[in-house]
Amino acid sequence: MWSFFHKMGSPKWFYDIAQRWKPWLAIGALLLLLVGMVWGLLFAPKDYLQAQSYRIIFIHVPTALLAQSCYIAMALAALVGMVWKMKLADVFIKTAAPVGAVITFLALLTGAAWGKPTWGTWWVWDARLTSMLLLLFIYLGIIALRAAIDEAQAAARAVAILTLVGVVNIPIIKYSVEVFNTLHQKASITLTAKPAMPPEMYIPLLIMVLGCYLVFAWLIFQRMQTEILFRERRTRWVQDWLRTQSSS
């Protein structure tokens, strides 16, 4: 465990691991998303109340979960970066923030598209929706803050602090539907109880969740590799590798 942690300090080690894992992540993601979407759109049964519009769940829940998970990962990275001065932690935060922002936007958009036929409104300022919108603003704030500070070390530090400050929003999002009287429904899927939906619906949902997480992992690996190449451009291993690229 400790040696893994130690290795994570090396950008080159991460670059090589990412290179090995990317093809599998890509194949896995494509398969899962294809199966999940075909199952969810074509084979999952009609809902007794919502008819077909509930099929948006297969997009909305994965993106909403991922938006929060991405932020939690960024906050963990911020902590690790500040305490152990791990370079890769900042690389992760930098590359994950824009992806997290797009995913949060998707969660909000699909939620609105689902809300209109179901609740009769695209938007309402209830606790769940408002805190998810806040999550989007925090992501954008993180991106803007990094762009505003020229010096890389200072930017990394400031962004890490902002990320940690913003993490208080995550439990707010999660418990918003329990604590407040919200239009958004309570959780249908929990870790403890049986899901409040039949297997024909929640299995494709889990497939889509896993597929989206794999796409996210691929995106992060790819983007981190690019950032690592830039930050480590003066090192021997990058220079040697670049030479093999130009000659091929």
Binding site: A44, L106, T110, L219, R223, T226, R243
Partner: protein, 73 residues
């Protein structure tokens, strides 16, 4: 299969607009993210390779330089 025809599948009991709006944005956004990530890496590699060639050239002494320094000697 839950739908008798392609038309029924697209119509989705009248809720097709909301469903295809959601799935459409989902696919476009994720494909956009993937293509952007691929493109950025390609551009970065090209830029770094170009910079490396430029650095190598600026370090190499030219023939003219060598002759001048020999004359001075």
């Amino acid at each position: 299969m839950q739908f008798e025809s392609l038309a029924a599948f697209i119509a989705m009991d009248g809720q097709g607009f909301y469903i295809w709006l959601s799935y459409g944005f989902f696919l476009v956004c994720f494909m956009g993210l993937v293509l952007a990530a691929l493109r950025e890496r390609r551009l970065m590699v090209a830029q770094l390779a170009r910079q490396m060639r430029r650095d190598a050239l600026s370090r190499k002494p030219t023939a003219a330089h060598t002759e001048t320094s020999q004359e001075i000697l």
